[in-house]
Symmetry: C2
Subunit: 415 residues, 2 copies
């Protein structure tokens, strides 16, 4: 085995948004939840993490760079993922390059890891979910691990709970499991991304002056102090999960929207019932909910579902392209960009929806009429930082194009 | 019996703020709640309703004026109170004026009612609680009703649920009762206003652009749609009520504050768990909670309890005068008046607390240092409309001074 070679794999993994929420752990170290959860995977073209993992006998220690900056791997969550995936490493051979790594070599060899999010890390868009899923997926490929995605999800789960749901595309269920060792707490795909192609997803990244409680400490405090959390986990979520699976299988948008909105609201209710109370939604979040509720009622049947994670950002799921176009008209009416922002940098992701909405530029936004269900409504410029338009998307993929690798193939250091 | 005479009574009744919340009816018509609640009565010197009731053979119909404007008495809630109190009317004699009303006369005689709140009706300060309590109390005096305050509270309850708690001073418990006819759903005094004289109460009337859901329709929607409400009513509140009664009996502020804050938060959590969700608190409310929580933690033991009703206003209960002075310093630091508002119209009620806080004028407010527990904190001028400083107070009283009557003793019309 030569001393100079570097062996690399690069993977891309989506982020996901829960429509039945995960809130509360029954085991803090293994990251085992108090209830099942269900998520939709977002199109990695718009929101994803790319991770390159490399191994070389020349590496002196495990190192990692996140968005170009070296970070420590000493945390328990990284260590748990690295340990679990190393346990499952198998023999790897690259005959062309004359490289062979025996199963036992993996214990001594060090890794370099570089990870990059194609969206702002601080925007509260579940970057750790995509990140840990991508780390585990890329390492599994590098180390020729034979475990399937569900088994890998149980490893990614130990990095960040919701990461387990990023191992699949489409709609994904994280089964809470019963075992003390967490071996049955893993993700399964309910349907793939082609099952319900009508859906459009618009994310409103909401401006916030508040520093938010991290979801890790927030859910710990909820478990310890909320008298409603256990009731939710034991009595409410099990029924809701079954109903949500049915709604997804049947592409029943009315039921889907009702369940998703109710579950988002209940998660935030549990946060409010925590001591001291946790507020993730702000006045802008509340306004978005009110507008959606009013519009849905005026239409007689839901056009849009909303869901909010541990922050003020709204994730809005529209039943189809037409509803998405009407939604973006409404959103841009209430929350126009500040005067110094152009439309192109205010709506990211899939911009084709703008044409459907008849919005070619800022002038069209300014000319928008108040939504008919809300007469003469007030506008709040600046209260939304930007929007992202996306769709349900596919699961992790290995990138074969070496140009997309984040590490130099010679040095194993960030490019 | 002459045709010209007018017989009148004038009463003053306090408002009250629940520290264990009433949210949800099991009977909409009789106004029977799904759980017990506990309130503190506020000093009527600062927040009260004055009501004059008059009877005369010259009156052609029942009429009522609220804050000088005639309003309809045709609503079921007024009708229920009038019917119930008329049922209990007895013989009344004024020998001096030669007036005698037989028990049976009350069915034919008409009433004039004038009511006035010494605080802004629209401020969301439970004006209907004081109003219906005052109506029932004043009518009971006029009609020589022999029922005690608890029995009267069961009548006032049919006007507005929380009105039953305004029949007493100090701390009051509304017992939910078990009977279908509501006869045992009434208020009892836990302790009078002298029991815990240390307490100070500061109300922040929060500016709001939102139109709020009425508590009547809000609680109906919660009962129908919240999966957490029944759990709260059956499992959480019964234990909390016992603990709260103990805390009040023992003047145990730490327990009192913990329970009051938790119960306020849980009520708002249930509102959020309602479909569509109800938001009564806004970003300013959230900020006030965060400041109080941070300060309480920095002191090691609670200095202030907060509670919020069906609106964004904060009711802050300070453990003693010293804590109240420190609280008003903090509140005025974060929420100074707008530049065109003077301090005298920005802090209403008991202004003696300003001297304790060393705040004689706006210059002193501007010179306030950031609270030590919150370093360099942002200020939000204009986010609070005004403050009211008050204390726990006494129950309803009859006013013997005829000058305070709201109706003309000759005509029975508003003065």
């Amino acid at each position: 085995m030569g001393e100079k070679w570097v062996l690399m794999k690069t993977a891309q993994t989506p982020t996901n948004i829960a429509v039945i929420k995960y809130w509360g752990k029954r085991d803090e170290t293994l990251i085992l939840p108090v209830n099942d959860s269900i998520s939709v995977t977002l199109d990695p073209a718009h929101l994803c993490t790319t991770t390159t993992v490399a191994v070389s006998p020349a590496f002196q220690q495990d190192r990692m760079w996140l968005n170009g900056k070296e970070i420590s791997l000493s945390g328990g969550r990284y260590q748990n993922c690295l340990r679990e995936i190393r346990k499952r490493a198998r023999e790897v051979e690259d005959k062309e390059r004359g490289i062979k790594i025996e199963k036992k070599d993996w214990e001594k060899l060090h890794l370099h890891i570089a990870s990059y999010n194609n969206f702002p890390t601080a925007a509260g868009l579940a970057s750790s979910a995509a990140g840990f899923a991508c780390l585990v997926f890329a390492l599994a490929k590098l180390m020729n691990v034979s475990e399937d995605e569900s088994q890998l999800s149980a490893i990614a789960r130990q990095g960040s709970g919701s990461a387990c749901r990023s191992l699949f595309g489409g709609f994904v269920k994280w089964i809470m499991g019963k075992e003390d060792d967490g071996s049955d707490s893993l993700a399964v795909q309910l349907v793939d991304e082609k099952h319900w192609e009508d859906l459009f997803i618009i994310i409103a990244v909401v401006s916030s002056r508040q520093k938010e409680t991290s979801s890790t400490s927030g859910m710990r405090e909820s478990v310890e102090t909320s008298s409603l959390l256990q009731h939710r986990a034991k009595e409410v979520v099990p029924k809701r999960t079954i109903q949500m699976e049915e709604a997804i299988q049947n592409r029943d948008f009315a039921s889907f929207a009702k369940l998703a909105c109710a579950d988002s609201n209940q998660f935030h209710a549990v946060c409010l019932d925590t001591l001291p109370p946790i507020f993730y939604m702000n006045d802008t979040s509340h306004r978005i909910i009110s507008y959606v509720e009013k519009w849905n009622r005026s239409e007689g049947t839901p056009q849009v579902a909303y869901t909010f994670d541990a922050g003020p950002n709204a994730v809005l799921i529209a039943r189809d392209r037409k509803a998405a176009a009407q939604l973006i008209q409404r959103l841009l009416f209430y929350f126009p960009p500040k005067s110094d922002t152009d439309l192109d940098s205010y709506l990211l992701g899939d911009k084709t929806i703008l044409k459907d909405a008849g919005l070619e530029g800022l002038k069209d936004v300014e000319a928008l009429s108040p939504p008919p269900e809300n007469g003469s409504a007030q506008k709040y410029p600046g209260d939304v930082s930007y929007f992202i338009c996306t769709r349900p998307g596919k699961g992790p993929v290995l990138l074969s194009n070496d140009k997309l690798a984040l590490l130099d193939p010679e040095t194993g250091l960030p490019k």
